[in-house]
Amino acid sequence: MLKIAKDKLPQLLQAWAAGARVFVPQEKDGTRVFLPWDGQGKLTLDEGNTLEPPKDLFFPRTETMYRYQVQGQEAGVTEVPPFDAKMVLVGVRSCDARSFAIMDDVFLTKGYVDEFYRRRRENTRVVALACTEAAPTCFCTTFGIDPGRAEGVDVQMWPLADGYLLEVVTEAGQELLEQGTGLLTDAGKEEIPAAAKPGLVVDIDGVTAKLQRMFEHPYWTAVSRKCLGCGACTYLCPTCHCFDIQGENRGNSGYKFRCWDSCMFSEYTRMAGGHNPRPSKKERLRNRFLHKLQYFPERYGKFACVGCGRCLDRCPVNVDITRVIREVKEVTL
């Protein structure tokens, strides 16, 4: 176990930044976001999780897929250069670390590999940071996530009053910490601080089975009455991964790009001919919850919610997934 003093952390980030793009939570526009470390920003590692999840580092909001051009009778396609920068993500909380595993399921398994995602994901090292305090909206333990230790990361950190404890998890993590020689000291008798205990706990036992029988239930009409369809919930969710592919054409050339989409928007399911199988907010909101709590577990054996609480914190009309889970369990069929 190693330790770094709080005032040395910027130097460690600097050392990593020499060979990679380092992303770490910093203050921006009054919120906390993962931003590239340039030695100037204000770190917010001790202030709870970021407003936006780090998913856009693997799955950017807008990403060019290829370019094309037409000259006379000739048409050609130009590939975009593959992403090959190294990235180090520092300060990822346990809930967001789980979300990476969920995104991996979507983009890398079942016989289909998304090359755009794979390149970014494989070029990234993850340094997790344990939570010793939970926000009122955190409910990660509901999904068996340990706020004190993240899954699938390269290095695990814990906050101390005057610095951070660091533990190597993988070989890549070992290499990272070797770059910090001189900054890191032996932790000695320093104890790992106790993990946060989120006060919000929901019983999710049997929710998937219950939902399988609730597709037509009037509950969805009631719960969707308030929804504005603003999409904040899906854009802020670390596991939402839907995208649209569109083209931008100018004269004889253009490009195809993909960009985040949201099942909360009517366009999302509207067919070319105008038919929409999810015509109202009821069907759309139902889809969001069923996807997280029924379809994903059916297909991948795990829930697609990590209990980060972002959606319930930020929904302008307080649509709350924890309340939905509770109410679903209470519905009589």
Partner: protein, 253 residues
């Protein structure tokens, strides 16, 4: 093949939407290469009579004389298009609809003898309309896209969804959720490229209701944010108070 002939009509409006056509200046010559602006009183000294292929109507209908001109326009145009929010829903002129006619007239005109105004309506209250180009003023990009698509014979991409979608594509921090600013983005039709929120100003709803707008819930949220019910009414009646969607918002609290 002769070039399609376009006519631009003005009803009760500020002429801002017509100005946007002229503001297409950098590509106006290309446009004139493709269409013939046959009737456009604001931009031409001499205008040619109909029939026309495309008619762009700017402005709300607020008096009997305009109803007559509108009906004539409908007869002489193959496609009739509502240009801007006034023509689509009544727009800004429609804010007068909630006060007695004479009170409003008295405020503006000295001599009321010659004034016979009517409730301000969008043009589809009187004639069938083929397309709606929303906004106060219209979006130049959307206008251009509409003309291009029409020339190509394909369906133009007029976004049905809310301004929030475009706002999020621009990667803006949401003013409504983060700063608790009163933003009509969630209920307003996109197509402006989230012009206002992208510059730090909440959406005023100038493009009118988006498909499936939940104005009732938004109005309640505005009240929860501390807005007075009279102000909520003003928000929803500013540009499109005559639409059923926004009137639900105005009546919700």
């Amino acid at each position: 093949m002769s070039k399609p002939r376009v006519a631009v009509y003005k009803m009760s409006s500020c002429a801002g939407c017509q100005l946007e056509i002229i503001n297409l200046e950098p590509i106006l010559l290309d446009l004139l290469g493709a269409v013939d602006l046959s009737y456009f009183v604001m931009a031409r000294r001499e205008n040619e009579p109909g029939p026309y292929d495309i008619g762009l109507v700017e402005g709300a209908i607020t008096c009997g004389e305009e109803i007559e001109r509108l009906k004539k326009a409908r007869q002489e145009c193959h496609l009739l298009v509502a240009l801007g929010s006034c023509a689509c829903y009544g727009g800004l002129p429609s804010i007068k609809n909630w006060q007695p006619q004479r009170v409003v007239e008295n405020r503006v005109y000295d001599n009321l003898a010659a004034i016979h105004s009517t409730t301000a309506y969008g043009i589809d209250y009187y004639v069938p309309v083929d397309a709606y180009l929303k906004g106060c003023p219209v979006s130049r990009e959307e206008l251009l896209d509409f003309i291009k698509s029409t020339l190509l014979g394909v369906r133009p991409y007029l976004r049905p969804h809310s301004v929030c979608v475009e706002c999020k594509l621009h990667e803006n921090v949401c003013l409504f959720v983060t700063e608790k600013a009163i933003c009509l983005g969630p209920v307003t039709t996109a197509g402006c490229g989230a012009l206002c929120p992208s510059r730090g100003k909440p959406c005023d709803g100038c493009r009118g209701p988006a498909n499936d707008a939940n104005a009732v819930s938004l109005a309640r949220t505005m009240a929860a944010y501390g807005l007075h019910s009279q102000d909520i009414v003003r928000y929803f009646r500013k540009f499109a108070g005559m639409t059923s969607e926004f009137s639900k918002g105005a009546e919700a609290v």
